[in-house]
């Protein structure tokens, strides 16, 4: 059909359709020149706009491969056996499985609609997936690649955190501003904890004593006692010269010893470094534009952050709390996972 006949048909029929064009940010990336030595791990970064996964060698801190994946890749993790990378491709309504040796997509998982974030149990047998558009958490048998069931949660679930003993799953609900505590055995919600607006991410301390939940619009992190189901402390952020709306808490990482927490502050372009015992902010590190998620190298020497607008990944020297390098990746880098090899 030609445009002319299309318009004429439209005018005759007088039926109207509305489609809102969406588009993401086109950006420039940068390379920094400061060299850094590291152990040889491999980082995988999901690029939400370019529909790719960038593979980074953390010895040289360079991109060594770019893998084409499905539409809108966001949540990304290594399987516990280290053989596969799982990446949620929300617009394709699935999770793709990438072989770490060949960098090829070898399977897909029945994730339910619009998967964004997910988490695995310690054995690597069970995967819990937040389905934002379906208000559910889908539970998948990773070995057999079949769904085991689903749990209805609040509107638009997003963040997923599993307690170290695997007994409690925390799913954050973007619209109801709640952290839902789900018993993984009975698959029932056992508690709902109100947090600040638009909770994004949940992270347990390794000893299970606390779960931290970030709130994007609230710009805070709620530290929750997972036994009493109470907010025991609210971490706030104050950066001179920045308006409060620009400080949006998103990704969280806590060191294995539970002493230091790192929180990505989105358009504040900074990572907050937090004393995880006192919950006081120690320092702010300027990384890249719209910093979203992060991951430690397995030795915890480095923390890698994804910066969605500057299209790069920042490398933080954890011991010295310094940003040592920047690596350009694809467009809108979102999630990151790091393997042992």
């Amino acid at each position: 059909m030609t445009p002319t006949t299309s318009i004429r048909g439209f005018l005759r029929r007088r039926r109207f359709h509305f489609t809102r064009t969406r588009h993401c940010l086109l950006g420039l990336g940068v390379f920094a020149l400061i060299g850094t030595q590291a152990s040889a791990f491999t980082a995988y970064v999901s690029n939400e706009k370019s529909n790719t996964v960038s593979v980074i060698d953390t010895d040289k801190f360079t991109v060594v491969n770019t893998i084409k994946v499905g539409q809108r890749p966001r949540g990304i993790e290594l399987t516990k056996d280290g053989k596969s990378v799982l990446v949620a491709v929300g617009d394709d309504d699935t999770i793709q499985v990438i072989d770490v040796r060949t960098h090829e997509i070898v399977a897909t998982l029945p994730s339910g609609p619009d998967p964004e974030l997910f988490t695995q149990d310690q054995t690597g047998k069970i995967l819990y997936v937040a389905n934002e558009n379906d208000n559910t958490v889908t539970i998948i048998d990773l070995h057999r690649r079949v769904p085991l069931g689903e749990v209805q949660v609040g509107v638009e679930p997003e963040g997923m955190g599993l307690s170290p003993d695997g007994k409690i799953l925390v799913a954050t609900s973007e619209t109801t501003n709640m952290a839902h505590f789900i018993d993984t055995e009975t698959r029932r919600i056992v508690a709902n904890v109100l947090v600040d607006a638009r909770p994004r991410f949940a992270e347990f301390k390794r000893d299970g004593s606390e779960v931290w939940v970030s709130s994007e619009i609230g710009g805070t992190v709620s530290v929750i006692d997972p036994v009493k189901h109470e907010v025991k402390k609210k971490i706030t952020f104050d950066i001179p010269g920045l308006r409060k709306e620009a400080i949006q808490a998103v990704g969280i990482s806590i060191t294995k010893d539970g002493k230091t927490g790192f929180v990505a502050l989105g358009p504040a372009n900074r990572i907050a470094v937090i004393n995880a015992a006192t919950h006081e902010v120690q320092k702010y590190l300027l990384v890249g534009q719209r910093v979203w998620h992060m991951a430690f190298t397995p030795d915890e020497k480095y923390l890698l952050t994804t910066n969605g607008v500057s299209n790069d990944v920042s490398i933080i020297d954890v011991a010295n709390l310094k940003v040592t390098k920047t690596i350009q990746v694809g467009e809108l880098p979102w999630g990151i996972a790091i393997s042992q090899q």
């Binding site: 445009p3 002319t4 299309s6 318009i7 004429r8 439209f10 005018l11 005759r12 007088r14 109207f16 359709h17 509305f18 489609t19 064009t21 969406r22 588009h23 940010l25 086109l26 950006g27 420039l28 940068v30 390379f31 920094a32 020149l33 400061i34 950066i239 001179p240 010269g241 920045l242 308006r243 620009a246 358009p267 504040a268 372009n269 900074r270 702010y284 590190l285 300027l286 890249g288 534009q289 607008v309 500057s310 920047t326």
Partner: protein, 197 residues
């Protein structure tokens, strides 16, 4: 094209943020970049327009703000100029950043004003097309419409809608420019800070 007609009939009600009715971009309008969003170096409150009085800094600001030199070249130019004692390096870094911040922020504001001006014209144009469509409907609803007039108005709507659609696509493209300027400023600011380490 049907999308364009639909937008026309809705009066181009595309401004996503009610605070800025003339802002058509999906990107949230942030009228000005704040220093703290891009800079964690020494405080520049005392710099003012001093950067304009230093010829070397002023020239470098003009070159880098033009957005033409690739970033690698820009980084080298920055490290070449930020030299000397610690105090001298700090002063030069502050001057250079203050100049770039002012220049790129101003340029970004100009672009944003231009986008809003363009969008206002687009709204006027949509009102004109909408009026033609209503005339056409009225004609079509008559029991014995003047077919030559119907054809004339249909052709006009078709042509104007195409023009409207082309302009709409242009706006989407232009909306990227403030983002690109902000990215450039952030990258240059980061390079300046790294040259101080």
């Amino acid at each position: 094209m049907a999308i364009a007609i639909e937008l026309v009939l809705r009066g181009v009600a595309l401004a996503a943020d009610p605070r800025f009715p003339d802002w058509p971009c999906n990107q949230v309008k942030v009228p000005e970049i704040s220093v703290a969003a891009v800079w964690a170096g020494p405080v520049i409150d005392d710099v003012g327009d001093a950067w304009e009085k230093d010829p070397a800094i002023r020239d470098l600001v003009a070159r880098l703000a033009a957005r033409r030199p690739p970033l690698e070249q820009a980084q080298k130019a920055i490290s070449d100029v930020i030299t000397g004692t610690e105090s001298e390096r700090q002063t030069k870094a502050k001057l250079l950043f203050a100049g770039l911040f002012k220049s790129l922020n101003d340029e970004r504001s100009d672009v944003m004003r231009g986008i809003e001006r363009y969008f206002r014209k687009q709204k006027e144009f949509s009102a004109q097309i909408r009026s033609t469509i209503l005339q056409l409907r009225e004609l079509q609803d008559r029991p014995d419409p003047d077919q030559s007039r119907v054809d004339e108005l249909t052709n006009r709507v078709e042509w104007d809608t195409r023009v409207f659609e082309e302009r709409r696509k242009t706006i989407n493209f232009v909306c990227e420019v403030p983002v690109v300027i902000e990215q450039r400023l952030f990258a240059l600011a980061r390079a300046i800070q790294q040259s101080l380490e």
